[in-house]
């Protein structure tokens, strides 16, 4: 309100910011916290579950491992136990039945133990016995190394499944000597159970390992009993073993060669049946390679590891019934923990759904809060608007002379401008059957000045008048661009620099019927129609005021009547220095005159150039005096008196009020101003005069005896002098409010504001511009 304040006491506190924070940030932060909490709980659950599952998996794998070890031990046990049994069984058998005992034992075992491929027995004399399954798989084949015709041959006897001999066959042995075979030599050297490396069994093309045990019969001959165990059966067993969804197992011998395991067939193909090449392939069996390496460094046990971006559980365990074989088991951790992950993922998905729902709710809450805030603000605004309008109406209601047509109701335009927040508000009255609009009052809110009295003619702006005649509120955003309002903008709005225009009709009684009697114009208001009911009230009040106002007489008629009235008036009297006083007219009495128009012209000393003598001005002053006399005669002024720098012109010194007096003085003032301007400018002198006027009661009369001089004094004279002294600029005519009231319909004035005069109190002062 007051400019340049360091601290504005009305400044908005950051309440709205805080409210926004509470309404938006808090819900969002709450949702985020919930999100974090749910995420944290989910992660914790996942970790706990995963740890539990892995522990369980570990135990499970250990069980599987034990089971596999037990099974493999059992699988191979048929060989080792069988070997031990055969060692005792055959070595204690009499020499005559050794051969039969071997065949009987072998046949029985082959029938009972599927993984055993065949039994051998060789002795230190080069004897060799073999029992194996017949090629058809149903019977048995007994093979004996015999010497026929000096050559060693294999003699084959084939028996069916009932033990009945079917046929015999022989084939050359190619100098086969069992004593040179690894299984024979190994057992003899070791003097105990020994294993040969895996080999391809000639007849079945299957990979086998041979376990052999030495024995000495009752005849003291060194013999070696050997058992061929098929590894294919072991691989099939391991293949059938279900460790987990993707878990695999493999058995390696002490040299790292693959004995059996998952995908053994592909290993065989890769190595083209050569057991020596059946090693781990790092490309396809990287996980086993990793476990095997770990095993070689750290020994048996569980070895979790990460390979190719995945977590694995690897286990290594030696097989007791074998030749330092090792069982490797590898299972991806996901096989066991995947359900924990799945569970975690589902929990997370559910959490996301909950969060989305919570977010939607939070958004709704925030939106609702904002909406409530907005509605509250609107309500507050509405209330403030109502209060403002009520206050404005009160202000209008307490305006004195609101409905008095002769009084001014400046509050109407002031409050209009205030309520509509307009730059300018004006009240226009339609005159002469709608041929003209006269501005009763116009208030400029920026300059806080009132003006009025000017008129618009229908012939100048037909479209604008049609708009007024339409009788509906019209808002024009840019008046200059609308052809209907462009003339109005040019004439009225351009000076004040306003652009938007709003017209609101004033309806009232005209000629006995309801009609448009005027219009309210609002310039540069943000949204004037929002206060339309206030506009309606002001329009109604204005209509009542307009109804009471008489139709203005046509200017010509007025001049005519004045002119005729003036003819009847006595000639002017010139007093004091201007001219010899005339004798007082008979009809002029002494005492109070009710309506005297007084004009005071004050002259100041001229500024002379080039050191001119002021006496050279006398002819000029004389010419001015002549002009004054001429003007006084023309307008039948009652008295013209000069006193020093002041010239006092008076009209209307009659007992009865003279309505033409003020008009005549005003005309005289305008003509006198023009004449003085002309004369002074021709003498190259600045206008050094100012004119003041007042209109009202005064006291006067003839004074003295010889000569009797007329003099006038009173408030009207004093105020006229004050107006002349206080004129805002040289050459201006400053008048009191009374003069303005009397002449405003015929002359143009602009307001100078309210002033306090010690003798007259507060009053408004106007400057008379020109005739309408």
């Amino acid at each position: 309100m007051v400019a340049n304040e360091i601290v504005d006491p009305t400044e908005q506190k950051d309440v709205s910011l805080r409210q926004k924070f509470i309404q938006v940030v808090v819900p969002v932060a709450t949702v985020l916290l919930i999100l974090l909490a749910i995420g944290g709980i989910g992660w914790h659950n996942y970790r706990t579950t995963r740890a539990g599952v892995l522990k369980l998996t570990h135990e499970l794998l250990q069980s599987v491992q034990r089971y596999v070890v037990q099974d493999v031990t059992g699988y191979m046990g048929a060989a080792t136990l069988g070997g031990s049994f055969a060692q005792d069984f055959i070595s204690h058998a009499p020499v005559a039945v050794t051969r039969g005992a071997f065949y009987s034992y072998g046949a029985t075992m082959l029938r009972l133990v599927p993984q055993i491929q065949s039994y051998y027995m060789g002795d230190q004399n080069g004897g060799f016995l073999l029992v194996e399954r017949a090629p058809d798989g149903k019977g048995l084949e007994y093979t004996d190394l015999q010497i026929v015709g000096g050559k060693t041959v294999f003699h084959h006897d084939f028996y069916d499944e009932n033990g009945k001999k079917i046929r015999s066959d022989e084939n050359p042995s190619d100098n086969y000597d069992p004593r040179t075979r690894p299984w024979y030599q190994g057992a003899v050297e070791k003097k105990g159970f020994s294993w040969t490396p895996p080999t391809i069994y000639a007849s079945t093309k299957q990979l086998v390992v041979t376990g052999s045990v030495p024995l000495v019969g009752q005849d003291g001959v060194q013999r070696v009993f050997a058992i061929n165990v098929s590894l294919n059966e072991l691989s099939d067993f391991l293949d059938a073993l279900k460790i987990s969804q993707n878990g695999t197992a493999i058995i390696l011998d002490s040299n790292g060669r693959i004995i059996a395991g998952h995908g053994f067939q592909s290993v065989v193909e890769r190595s083209q049946g050569d057991p020596a090449k059946m090693t781990l392939d790092p490309a396809t069996q990287g996980t086993f390679k990793r476990v095997y390496d770990t095993y070689r460094v750290r020994g048996v046990g569980s070895h979790p590891f990460r390979y190719d971006g995945k977590n694995y559980i690897g286990m290594a365990q030696t097989l007791p019934a074998s030749d330092h074989w090792v069982l490797l088991i590898v299972a991806p951790e996901n096989d066991f923990a995947s359900f924990a992950r799945q569970s975690g993922r589902e929990s997370f998905q559910f959490s996301v759904i909950i969060i989305v729902l919570a977010s939607v709710l939070a958004a709704l809450l925030a939106r609702q809060g904002r909406r409530t805030e907005r509605v509250t603000k609107e309500l507050r605004h509405e209330k403030a608007l109502t209060n403002t309008q009520t206050a404005a109406l009160q202000q209008i209601a307490v305006t004195p002379d609101l409905l008095n047509v002769n009084g001014e109701a400046l509050a109407l335009t002031e409050e209009l401008a205030h309520i509509t927040r307009a730059r300018k508000a004006s009240l226009w009255r339609l005159l002469h059957d709608g041929m003209a609009l006269i501005c009763e009052d116009s208030f400029d809110a920026r300059q806080e000045t009132h003006s009025g009295g000017f008129d618009l003619s229908r012939k100048d702006m037909e479209d604008f008048f049609k708009l007024v005649d339409a009788g509906v509120p019209v808002t024009v955003p840019v008046a200059a661009h609308d052809e209907r309002t462009a003339p109005y903008e040019r004439v009225v709005m351009r000076d004040s620099g306003t652009s938007s225009l709003m017209l609101y009709p004033i309806r009232g009684a005209s000629g006995g019927h309801a009609d448009i009697v005027g219009v309210i114009t609002i310039e540069d208001a943000p949204d004037p129609l929002s206060v339309s009911y206030f506009l309606e009230i002001v329009a109604s009040i204005t209509a009542i005021r307009f109804a009471g106002m008489a139709e203005l007489p046509e200017p010509d008629k007025m001049s005519g009547s004045d002119a005729s009235a003036v003819q009847k008036l006595p000639p002017p009297r010139f007093d004091a220095a201007l001219m010899q006083a005339t004798t007082a007219s008979g009809e002029i009495g002494q005492g109070m005159f009710p309506s005297v128009a007084v004009m005071v012209v004050t002259f100041s000393d001229p500024v002379m150039e080039n050191g001119d003598d002021t006496s050279s001005l006398l002819p000029l002053i004389d010419r001015i005096a002549s002009e004054v006399q001429e003007i006084a005669k023309r307008y039948s002024l009652f008295s013209v008196k000069v006193a020093g720098h002041r010239l006092i012109c008076v009209a209307g010194c009659t007992k009865e009020p003279d309505p033409t007096a003020i008009w005549r003085v005003a005309e005289a003032a305008l003509v006198l101003r023009e004449a003085c301007m002309l004369l002074l400018s021709s003498a190259n002198i600045e206008p050094i005069f100012s004119i003041g006027m007042d209109y009202g009661p005064a006291m006067g009369g003839e004074l003295g005896t010889d000569p009797r001089l007329f003099n006038l004094w009173g408030e009207a004279v004093t105020l006229a002098e004050l107006m002349a002294q206080g004129a805002p600029d040289v050459g201006t005519i400053e008048v009191t409010e009374r003069v303005y009231q009397a002449l405003r319909e015929h002359y143009l004035f602009h307001s100078r504001g309210s002033f306090y005069a010690p003798s007259a109190g507060i009053g408004r002062v106007y400057v008379l511009a020109t005739r309408r």
Partner: protein, 232 residues
Amino acid sequence: MKHLTGPMLELADATPVFDESSLPPVPLSLRVMAGECVVIETRDMSRATMFADLCSGMVHLRHGNARFMDMDWNDLDDRHRNALRGRIGRITRRPVWTDLFGTHVGIMFKELHHTTVSVQDLTGETARLCTQFGLPGIPVETPRRLSSADLVRASCVRAFLGQPQLLLIEDPLEGSPVDISGAFFECLTEARDRGASVVWFVRDTSVWQPYRKAVSALWRLADDGLLTVRIR
């Protein structure tokens, strides 16, 4: 004229704390609209001083509230309360002049403290008002060395300086050694035209009679509170 939606100054059942203010502990209600001039007659001018303090939010209230420019003094923090007081012009009989500085500082201190108006503009405005009140220029001597007449003038200049929104005037006319009524009424009228409200404390009816036409309301402040009086 700047409009307020509500009254410029409003006391709504404001009950002052007696111990603090010596004002009658009765509810006081008063509304002064923008541009209004309210005359309050009181025999005891020290009571007027306290009442002016109450209007300035410097007296604690037991009940009710005191609002200035739609703002309750109680609702404001110290910073804003002090800033708001910068919009009040006061003429008080309480000894307020300090001899630490020249009178010109005392006159312009409020504006220098509350606003960013340039010293040049402020000096110009002060000089204008000083001339208006009959001082040959802005007094620069310490207040003690000024005549009582010039001190009254300086008080008036200080009150009207800076276009205050509220004038709390403890009458300077009565007992003034010089007649400054002309300038005083001019400034009063000018301030009211601008939209300022005036509370004028007087001891004697005769003082405000020349201005009676323009007075909006007349009140009397006595032991039993604030009573409205019909203007005759």
